[in-house]
């Protein structure tokens, strides 16, 4: 019965059912027939070559992006993993402090408090503060089709809700910390992996029990645990035979650096849901902000080809114009709002408008396609996936890298405990616990983000009315908002 329900769920697309599958977890004895099926899948993807010589590492992390480098730092600083041989493989070059430009980078991330805690635990947060980082204290999210809005803040405006940091800055800070761990963690840049060979699930006499990694320069490595942090098109995930539930949104995100008309106390993150997709402005400094505009592929192409002035006008009008409003919705919305203000006097907040944009940074416009993906398992025998390799989300909630950092914290905890108990790091019991913990957190979040995206991508009156009233009600109930903020900050 357990296997049937998994098969049904995995063939279904709707986001809600993803939650059921992930929350189930994987109890040991009940999943025995399933475990046999997994072994067959693993065996099918092996080659039958003989044993290969190569240096044996305890952990190899494949992929040196934000999440992969954070994982390397986190393992390197853990006292229970002292003395273990850890290697980070990155196909690109080394990103250092000096290579971070004067101009703002186009790709930025919103870092929540949980991720900030991780970064400060590995000592990278100080480097980030010394480079460039902008805290924000409030977040306003509102609809283009009505007046409904919701604001998040931490009561008194003294506390920060999160930080906006450029991706390059995060990687450079983590790289600097890795340099201080030279003895413990090795890093190889410009090392692309061409092949992974996975061992059978239990020991067979002639074959090496370790994962074989072959680099582009012909070098062979072996490892007891392979951690895949190699992004949404993960080769680790593919070669391990882990199935992914994924689909493309027919959307691309346009990113740019915006120069504001006048300097302001820029500590609010803005997001407006247009029918074509959400447009967000994240503060970078008092006079600059980062734009993330998710829209259709065609519109994204058009935006890139516009000249600066027209592009700036398009951005301003997207945030300010009321062209999608209808009288019916406006009336219904205001009636509901007055009813709410009778019940909960302090529940509503005035709608503010984001600062106007005067120009954009030179050659700072770029676009990338959007999609959603979730690996059906995060682990296999001697393998684990973290970050985008395991889950990929829409940027509308600013959660992508935060989920990845959450994976890093959880996996480090489980590996640390396993090492303190003398366990083989690549063996499945503790990896299964990591998977269960993270799926229970990630799946509801991903389902909520996907549902929001679908709900806000329509102009049809019934849905607009529903989401207007729902948003206003949520805005009025502070405990509910606090829960949402707490969940998103983990």
């Amino acid at each position: 019965m357990v296997i049937c329900s998994r098969a049904i769920v995995m063939s279904f697309i709707p986001s809600g059912l993803l939650v059921v599958r992930g929350l189930w977890g994987r109890p040991s004895m009940l999943s025995l027939p399933w475990a046999v099926k997994r072994r067959l899948v693993c065996l099918a993807s092996h080659s039958v070559e003989g044993q290969v010589e190569g240096e044996v590492y305890d952990v190899i992390i494949s992929g040196g992006g934000m999440v992969g480098t954070a994982m390397a730092c986190s393992l390197g600083f853990d006292p229970n993993l002292e003395g273990k041989k850890i290697l980070l493989l990155e196909a690109g070059g080394k990103k250092t402090f000096d290579s971070v430009h004067q101009d703002y980078g186009t790709r930025v991330s919103s870092i929540n408090l949980g991720s900030a805690t991780l970064l400060s635990a590995v000592g990278a947060w100080d480097h980030i503060l010394n480079m460039r980082c902008k805290p924000f204290k409030r977040m306003q999210v509102w609809d283009a089709c009505s007046d409904a809005l919701i604001t998040f803040d931490k009561g008194n405006l003294e506390d920060e809700m999160g930080y906006v940091v450029e991706n390059d800055v995060i990687v450079a800070a983590l790289t600097k910390q890795l340099d201080s761990l030279k003895g413990q963690v090795q890093v190889r840049y410009r090392s692309r992996v061409v092949k992974y060979t996975w061992p059978p699930p239990y020991h067979v006499a002639e074959r090496s029990p370790w994962v074989q990694v072959e680099l582009a320069n012909g070098q062979q490595l072996q490892t007891k645990l392979l951690i895949g942090a190699d992004g949404p098109n993960s080769m680790v995930r593919r070669t391990a035979g882990i199935r992914t539930i994924q689909w493309n949104y027919d959307q691309s995100a346009v990113v740019a650096v915006l120069h504001l008309s006048e300097p302001t106390e820029n500590n609010v993150a803005w997001q407006r849901f247009l029918p074509s997709g959400p447009i967000a402005m994240l503060p970078l400094s008092d006079s600059a902000s980062s734009l993330v505009w998710s829209t259709s592929h065609q519109h994204a192409e058009d935006l890139l080809s516009l000249d600066e002035e027209t592009f700036t006008d398009a951005v301003n009008s997207a945030f300010w114009s009321n062209e999608y409003h209808s009288d019916l919705i406006d009336t219904a919305g205001s009636v509901f709002r007055s009813a709410l203000s009778l019940l909960i006097p302090y529940g509503s907040s005035p709608r503010q408008l984001p600062p106007s944009v005067a120009g954009i940074g030179p050659q700072s416009r770029a676009t990338f396609p959007l999609g959603v993906g979730h690996a059906s398992e995060y682990i296999c025998h001697r393998g684990a996936l973290i970050g985008d390799a395991a889950h990929r989300v829409h940027p509308l909630a600013g959660q992508g890298v935060n989920l990845g950092f959450g994976d890093v914290v959880c996996l480090t905890q489980h590996l640390s405990k396993a090492a303190f108990d003398g366990k083989d790091l690549g063996s499945t019991p503790h990896l299964l616990e990591y998977e269960t913990d993270r799926q229970r957190h990630n799946l509801p979040m991903m389902a909520a983000i996907d549902a929001m995206k679908r709900l806000y991508s329509t102009k049809m009156a019934p849905f607009v009315l529903l989401r207007t009233l729902g948003l206003q009600a949520t805005n009025a109930i502070s405990p509910l908002k606090d829960q949402i903020v707490a969940f998103a900050s983990k």
Partner: protein, 330 residues
């Protein structure tokens, strides 16, 4: 190989005995046969007097006795899969590591002021008696200890050596030997910081001699760790009937109720042979989750930690004044 044939017969006899309806009749029968077989084997060289019944349960795994060389490899593979398949026949033994390894590690560190880093047990020399395929030796070695693993069944030792050979770290830290405890007693007087005898004492005929040998090879104030099964009605029902016959968690004939020993009895033997018992804790296996847990009651499985006293033991039987040993070591 003759030894194997003898003990395999003994093993089959044990199997039949376990299936017998009348439990009392069974125990007198086996007691009688046991004595006869023990006397026969007294003349055998190089086979440990105390580990006969260890060989019984492990001899079940030997598919052929005087066999061809070509089937050795297959037997190896079958053995390797059996020992190291975490969901296979030895699943309960693998998951018992979650309890045993912290028990050994924490008690050793508490006694000797441990440091918490990557290798908390580095510098310790530990003997794993009845190591089998190395299920307990490997985690202890990963914590930095220098492990000597002994087992009378040569095939198990070979399996353990094969499994360890792929890992350069374990290769340096574990040394396996196919022998019995008393074979190394003379050459290893007072050399070990710890002796671990997990799931062995219930297979031993003379527990007192076993404890005496442990006493000889341990340094003063070193630790002895034993996990075994209590001799109660509950342990017969759960340890043998349910575990072997119903749920098939263990190969049939692995245990004999007669050989089980109660913690009180074991404590008495240890205290009268120069040990001071520090803690006794009960363990319970949950077959649904596949996990072990510590419990207050020692009715079925239990673990015992004792320390070799500095002063040599008095010849007369005497009990320690402090009868109330702490139940929980944490």
């Amino acid at each position: 190989m003759e030894a194997v044939r003898v003990f395999r017969t003994r093993g089959m006899l044990a199997q039949l005995c376990h299936n017998a309806r009348c439990f009392r009749l069974l125990s007198t029968l086996t007691a009688g046969n046991k004595r006869q077989k023990l006397q026969d084997s007294m003349t055998r060289p190089r086979v440990g007097f105390f580990y006969k019944t260890v060989m019984i349960c492990k001899a079940h795994l030997n598919t052929a006795s005087s066999t061809l060389d070509s089937s050795e490899i297959k037997k190896f593979q079958a053995l390797a899969n059996k020992w190291w398949d975490q969901h296979g026949e030895f699943a309960a033994l693998h998951s018992m590591n979650d309890l045993r390894v912290p028990f050994v590690r924490d008690n050793l560190l508490n006694l000797n002021g441990g440091r918490k880093s990557g290798f908390p047990l580095s510098g310790y020399k530990i003997l794993d008696v009845g190591c089998g395929g190395g299920v307990l030796s490997e985690p202890l070695a990963r914590l930095g200890a220098c492990i000597t693993g002994i087992d009378p069944v040569e095939d198990s030792i070979k399996t353990a050596q094969l499994h360890q050979s792929f890992d350069p770290f374990l290769d340096k830290h574990i040394h396996y030997k196919a022998c019995a405890l008393e074979d190394i007693t003379e050459e290893a007087m007072e050399t070990f910081d710890g002796v671990v005898a997990s799931e062995v004492v219930e297979h031993v005929s003379n527990v007192e001699s076993f404890i005496k040998c442990c006493h000889k090879i341990l340094k003063p104030e070193a630790s002895l760790f034993i996990t075994t099964i209590n001799k109660t009605k509950l342990s017969y029902v759960f340890g043998i009937l349910v575990a072997e016959n119903m749920l098939k968690l263990l190969p049939k004939g692995t245990h004999e109720w007669e050989k089980f020993i109660s913690p009180v009895e074991l404590e008495r033997i240890m205290e009268s042979n120069g040990f001071s018992v520090k803690s006794i804790k009960g363990m319970l296996y949950n077959p649904i989750s596949g996990l072990w847990s510590w419990i207050d009651s020692t009715a079925i499985n239990y673990a015992i930690h004792a320390v070799k006293e500095k002063v040599p033991p008095e010849p007369d039987y005497c009990r320690s004044e402090d009868k109330d040993q702490p139940e929980d070591r944490t």
